[in-house]
């Protein structure tokens, strides 16, 4: 049976992709952010996952408002990024794992999570930037695992509740642990932390709330299910709702996790950037 090694979270700000392209690792603005990643790289090197479940939110590339799935799971042989409106270069495709995708889909629906399956899915910066952060040169990194993208809607309300996100993760964990292959799996929860891009409150960041989320997501994620969706908008900012991806990741890891590394920095672009690596008990 497959084993979940752990979960990694990171912000997935588009500007990070640009900074990676320009190799701004030691630039004074970027250094406090990129310094959060060497420990993650070392852990990945030591643990060599075979599969990566990339939980992200599409920002208007893979999905439009004509058909907006609340939870969508990729089931393709490969995943391509595309131009998102500002001339992004096309990368080589990320290798998929359709047999794992369909196992997850079967298991999730049997577990009463009615998801949308996608045999084609263009992946945006929410998926790509974390891959580039964790596997430098992605997808052309020799250790690049095969990927299953999972996207949750945070574009249009109603968005899922924090409890639903955590429960989704728990069901995802059951699905992964029942995959009949001796495989090693890592789960990414991407997006956040607090930020707001739109409106008269644009630029809003909330360090205190982010710290509350960072503390509880490690040891007491159930506490966070008390936060209502509108409280999340109010306290994390309109786009801080991406924290739902962290909840989904966390649910899949089970109760017993060890924090390996954490980084938090304000600001990267308009965002409070957070990185966290949690390892599952052996």
């Amino acid at each position: 049976m497959a084993k979940i090694l752990g979960g990694i979270t990171t912000s997935h700000i588009p500007a990070v992709g640009n900074a990676i392209q320009k190799e701004l690792y030691d630039d004074p603005y970027w250094k406090p952010f990129f310094d959060g990643y060497p420990k993650v790289h070392a852990w990945i090197k030591a643990n060599k996952p075979d599969y990566v479940i990339n939980i992200y939110n599409d920002h208007g590339l893979g999905f439009f408002l004509d058909q907006m799935p609340t939870f969508a799971i990729g089931a393709a042989h490969e995943y391509k990024n595309e131009d998102e409106g500002w001339g992004l270069p096309a990368l080589d495709p990320f290798p998929g794992a359709p047999e794992l995708s369909w196992h997850i889909i079967e298991s999730m629906v049997a577990d009463e999570f009615d998801i949308t399956s996608c045999q084609e899915l263009a992946v945006d910066h929410g998926f790509v930037v974390p891959m580039q952060l964790f596997w430098p040169g992605a997808p052309n990194n020799p250790d690049m695992p095969r990927a299953v993208p999972i996207s949750a809607n945070t574009v249009q309300h109603p968005i899922p509740t924090l409890k639903r996100a955590l429960d989704f993760g728990k069901a995802l964990g059951r699905a992964l642990r029942s995959f009949p292959e001796d495989a090693r799996i890592v789960i990414l929860g991407t997006g956040g932390l607090s930020h707001q891009l739109d409106g008269a409150r644009a630029g809003f960041i909330n360090k205190e709330f982010d710290q509350y989320c960072l503390e509880n997501i490690v040891s007491n994620p159930e506490e966070l299910t008390k936060v209502t969706r509108m409280e999340l908008v109010e306290k994390a900012g309109a786009q801080g709702t991406e924290f739902l991806m962290w909840m989904m990741m966390r649910g899949a890891l089970g109760d017993n996790v060890t924090e390996i590394t954490r980084n938090y920095h304000i600001p990267i672009s308009n965002t409070a950037a957070g990185t966290l690596l949690l390892e599952c008990a052996a």
Binding site: A15, G60, E82, D83, G85, H157, A200, M230, I266, P267
Partner: protein, 118 residues
Amino acid sequence: MDHPGFDHHTHIPGTTIFDGKMAMKGYALNKMCYAFNRQDNRDAFVADEEAFMEKYGLNDAQKQAVRDRNILGMIEEGGNIYYLAKFAGIFKLSVQDVGGMQTGRSTEEFQDFLQSQA
């Protein structure tokens, strides 16, 4: 789309909850901006803005907000920031530029504001 007794809207100052009502109001505007994922559509917009807006069926208020590069106006008319970001991309505006435009700050003042919350 008003259904008395079924208003799911919540008020958070300076924040538009992009719910079903706003998603319906802004559909044409957002659909146009979604098209800006493609370079050929961005080029077509730059070549003839009015024709492009007409093609996507924007209403007069949406058209005027686009002509004025009025981000708050576009949000008021149902625009969603994730799609509007693609509109901003045509003009090479960063999210700090867009933040400044919405809050009456220069880009530098907006960046200072972000930094002040560290």
